[in-house]
Symmetry: C2
Subunit: 155 residues, 2 copies
Amino acid sequence: MQMQQDQAPQPAAKAFTLPKDPVQRAWVAIQRFGPALLGRVEAELKAAGFPALEWYDALWAIEREGPLRQRDLAGSMLIARYSISRLIDRMEAEGFVERRECPEDGRGQVVHATAKGLKLRKAMWAVYDKAMRQVLTPLSEKEAAQLAALLAKLS
Amino acid sequence: MQMQQDQAPQPAAKAFTLPKDPVQRAWVAIQRFGPALLGRVEAELKAAGFPALEWYDALWAIEREGPLRQRDLAGSMLIARYSISRLIDRMEAEGFVERRECPEDGRGQVVHATAKGLKLRKAMWAVYDKAMRQVLTPLSEKEAAQLAALLAKLS
DNA sequence: GGTCTATTGTTGCAAATGCAACGATGCCTT
DNA sequence: AAGGCATCGTTGCATTTGCAACAATAGACC
């Protein structure tokens, strides 16, 4: 019987050599480091007892743009409608959002944030912001801006 | 009854304005565009009837480094051991790899690629390479190298 | 109005994932 | 050699996802 916490989700990262071709280098970097960075931030949120980033994103989208149709949330978060449907199921079950009928469209559901939801988002932000900055410390402000610009070109 | 294919996994992307703070810009870009790019490439592989990128990555790791312990595959692919265990289950069931006993470690399993596996990797590469380059066309070679360098700083 | 097609959100089902545990083996210390 | 801890790979279980369908509503066209 062992007492250590087994099965770390992110196993020890080996030193990794990128390919020579610049395009492949870029691709490999995106594929490897992107998810790893997300994982680190998600891990900090979870360690602080918070739900996943999705929840934050949904709450933030609503706070930014006002109550939203599920369709629009899906568009805003770039995920499929059925994913939104179930995400909102879970968030509603915990009282962070609520669905209301959509006056202009009988099919629609408008998602509102509750006071509890707004509070959660703020609490998450403290941890999220810190974790994000920590993960990005290796970059100067200028480099961060450059990185954002390069990625934005790929939209 | 409708004949179109419903529920596109990546709904119409709205024009998206990045925050002002450079660090947040970088983070949002990583969070949004990274997965979107991966998704586009994955979609092309799937459309061509191929399995997911994971399969390619596993086969390529083995081809590059020789038959690998599952532990090392996990390290190389940055995923948990139980994920590897099940990934290899599936790949073995389709005859692309096979597990053999590890001579130096009774616990170990060494994963070998089969001829069928090597063939699959090559076939996938044709599509993968093309899709990857297509997704990255907005970047010049120099920019691609820059992007890779910036992301690598974050390892 | 009536018909036809598209969109919205939901759901059943199968597959995949995360987590926590486990058996088996290796390794280190005594 | 023996005990104790660490590592390797696997698995049961609950949760989450992806896919394909669906009912309900909207909108366009005649």
